[in-house]
């Protein structure tokens, strides 16, 4: 089962011919992901070649989806054009758009989010590492890798991981894999203040996914998405959840790398989030080195 994507999910890549998009498309193909199309306006009819595979490039998302049956888009388009790219994926009626792009103006995302209301497409990101549902092969190959996560750190299994941060997700995933524990799906929801999918959205999916038996939720300072998720978990979640909040030592009023990671007006502090987690029965790892162990101890 897993959530959002399965090993046979067909993916198209918007921005496949840019160096960043091309590199990660190659890595996804090597991982065994079903990359079936690329989209670069003006390069329709050409193809993207890697390791003997020829992937057709289209001028539009709608055409790519129609011709190849792709249902999910990975978006690597540069920031000034990313909002347009996301809305093109929405307009084409895709099920899922995963926006990797970092640095999209906040107001662009405010507009995008408003325009997506009531549409069938779900957006993950932006400014996120993407989604991985590990496969059964060597180094978890044969799974679905969308985005920029290193494939080999994963292992097929039953733990769901959700986080705003890329490398902190890798840290949690790698801790699990090193202990022989696999993951159902790992989702990076992104570090921007306006994103398509929240911690809570993903937690609900993990809760409903029969394959997922435990969850690691990683949050950071800024906003109140972690508190919202904790509130729901307290009353509804059937599965053990372990968590970690980054930014206990972050000075207030400063943006810590991620556009959304800021304590402002006394809101969005790590302390408040940790307290909300504890109140909801979420086991909080006292250091980022203990994320996997904290969950595994709960599941014993």
């Amino acid at each position: 089962m897993a959530i959002l994507v399965k090993p046979d999910t067909k993916i198209l890549v918007q921005g496949i011919t840019g160096s960043f998009g091309a590199r990660h498309t190659q890595l996804s193909i090597d991982y065994g992901t079903q990359v079936v199309a690329g989209v670069t306006p003006g390069k329709g009819g050409q193809s993207f070649e890697h390791n003997g595979k020829k992937i057709p490039i289209f001028d539009t998302v709608a055409e790519a989806a129609k011709q190849t049956g792709a249902t999910v888009s990975a978006i690597f388009v540069p920031p000034p054009f990313a909002a347009d790219a996301i809305l093109e994926a929405v307009g084409a009626g895709l099920e899922l758009a995963v926006a990797i792009t970092e640095g999209i103006p906040v107001n662009d995302m405010v507009r995008v989010k408003s325009a997506m209301h009531g549409k069938k497409t779900r957006l993950i990101g932006p400014n996120c590492p993407g989604v991985v549902t590990p496969g059964t092969g060597k180094d978890s190959q044969g799974g679905c890798r969308i985005g920029i996560s290193p494939g080999y750190i994963h292992k097929k299994g039953n733990i769901g991981v959700v986080s705003r941060s890329g490398t902190l997700t890798y840290e949690a995933v790698w801790q699990l894999t090193c202990r022989g524990v696999g993951q159902s799906t790992c989702v990076g929801i992104g570090g921007d203040p306006v994103n398509g999918t929240s911690h809570l959205d993903i937690i609900k999916m993990f809760n409903d996914d029969p394959e997922t038996t435990g969850i690691i939720m990683i949050g950071e300072i800024g906003g109140s998405a972690e508190e919202d998720a904790a509130e729901w978990i307290k009353n509804n979640c059937k599965k053990p959840v372990a968590g970690f909040i980054a930014g206990t030592t972050a000075p207030p009023g400063r943006r810590m790398g991620h556009a959304g990671a800021i304590v402002s007006g006394g809101k969005g502090t790590a302390e408040a989030k940790i307290a909300a987690f504890k109140d909801a029965g979420i086991a909080v790892a006292s250091t980022p080195s203990e994320m996997a162990d904290t969950l595994l101890k709960m599941m014993k």
């Binding site: 590199r23 990660h24 890595l27 920031p79 000034p80 640095g103 999209i104 103006p105 906040v106 107001n107 662009d108 995302m109 405010v110 507009r111 989010k113 408003s114 920029i148 996560s149 290193p150 750190i153 986080s163 705003r164 941060s165 890329g166 490398t167 902190l168 997700t169 890798y170 840290e171 790698w174 570090g191 203040p193 306006v194 990683i218 950071e220 300072i221 800024g222 906003g223 109140s224 998405a225 919202d228 970690f244 980054a246 930014g247 206990t248 030592t249 972050a250 000075p251 400063r254 810590m256 790398g257 991620h258 556009a259 990671a261 007006g265 006394g266 006292s286 250091t287 980022p288 080195s289």
Partner: protein
């Protein structure tokens, strides 16, 4: 990015928000001239305000001993004297920290008689992903305190970004503030212009505190943005050349400016253990784990997902220019980034900078074995950490010895 009050008022005025008559000066002579002009226009009181990116100016003290970064006066000569006391001096307020900030510009403006003070701001509401305008009858005071003690005194109006700000929303806010008669329409116009400034400048926050009812020269009551603060979305600066030009490098920490040249995200802190990490979340978590084991982080530093050898070398130089640093922790999860490239960068940087401080390196991920071998073969006294916890404990111990 933040801008000065005088710049914020220039932007607000462009979008039709009424602000007091005023200009910026960088010499006492210029300040005097502006004051004379304002008095000539009929104002009876002029204010001179130190321009720094920090609040609490009025109650601040200059290192010279001169009290008050904001002064009122009825004479242009006195404005000259105040300007002389402020310009070129360092102002310390509760927001600047003990180092204070150098005042190199003053805003000289009309100070009309204030009848009433309010608070208002335009910002993003992260819960709804929509802009809001927030007002309060408690103006001129610390709004965070109001929010905590009297949340009912803060009124919010959500704006649908697709259709923009409607006049009725402005009237609603004006009435919530207790405005009456002509001031209701004036308020609606004021809030519409405030929203326009926020939206079209790609601001992260426009704060007007206080928004005042003042007595105009004809004796009629009007609204005026007496103080203003604007923060801007860095991601959108590329489409606002006029705002980019407002950046004041003197207000930024020199090491942070240097870091931004190399696309490094660096924030200086007060501790003694420097860290160099890839990824913002991991960088924050690395600071946290240093503190967990009894150390204090000297900085936040995210070298990004695809750091090059040059970036790593630059990062080391920046870290080492902080005199408080007694030890360094490098924490790299080389997901896509190759650990061997990072390791070569570290070795080169250590050699180039002649590093004498203890250095703990934790590498994980792609080509980690080759990376570790490169560090070992270098013959440099690099301490290897196996996990984040192990590395953090080792660097804390090394610094304490």
């Amino acid at each position: 990015m933040n801008i000065h009050e005088y710049q914020a008022k220039q932007l607000l005025a462009q979008y039709g928000v009424p602000v007091p008559l005023g200009e910026v000066a960088d010499t006492p002579e210029a300040a005097k001239k502006i004051a004379e002009k304002i008095f000539a226009s009929g104002e009876t009181m002029v204010v001179i305000k130190s321009q720094i990116h920090a609040g609490g100016r009025g109650k601040g003290t200059f290192k010279s001993g001169f009290k008050g970064g904001v002064k009122l006066s009825k004479s242009a000569d006195e404005i000259y004297e105040h300007a002389k006391a402020m310009l070129g001096q360092v102002l310390v307020t509760k927001q600047t920290g003990p180092d204070g900030r150098l005042v190199s510009k003053v805003l000289v403006a009309g100070a009309p008689q204030i009848k009433k003070e309010f608070y208002c701001a335009a910002l993003l509401d992260r819960n709804t992903s929509k802009p809001i305008i927030m007002v309060s009858t408690e103006g001129g005071v610390d709004i965070e305190e109001v929010a905590e003690k009297h949340p009912e005194k803060i009124i919010k109006e959500t704006i649908d970004p697709a259709v923009g700000f409607y006049p009725y929303q402005g009237r609603k806010l004006a009435i919530a503030l207790g405005l009456k008669g002509d001031l209701i329409a004036a308020g609606a116009k004021f809030f519409a212009a405030l929203y326009k400034t926020f939206w079209e400048c790609d601001a992260s926050m426009v704060e007007i505190n206080p928004l005042c009812i003042i007595v105009g020269r004809d004796g009629k009551e009007v609204l005026s943005a007496v103080d203003a603060k604007i923060g801007l979305d860095d991601n959108a600066l590329y489409r606002h050349a006029n705002i980019q030009a407002m950046r004041d490098l003197a207000e930024e920490a020199p090491l942070e400016i240097e870091a931004s040249k190399f696309n490094l995200n660096y924030i200086k802190l007060d501790g003694s253990i420097a860290c160099l990490v890839n990824g913002a979340g991991l960088a924050m978590a690395t600071m946290d784990i240093i503190q967990h084991f009894g150390g204090e982080p000297a900085n936040f530093l995210d070298v990004g997902g695809g750091a090059t050898k040059d970036q790593v070398t630059a990062a080391f130089k920046i870290i080492l220019s902080d005199p408080n640093v007694k030890g360094i922790l490098v924490n790299i999860f080389g997901g896509i980034m190759q650990c061997d490239i990072i390791a070569s960068g570290i070795v080169a940087a250590v050699k180039e900078t002649g590093l004498k401080l203890p250095l703990v390196v934790r590498l994980e991920g792609n080509n980690v074995q080759i990376g570790k071998q490169i560090l070992k073969d270098s013959g440099l006294p690099i301490i290897s950490g196996d996990s984040m916890a192990d590395a953090a404990q080792k660097v804390v111990k090394a610094v304490k010895v």
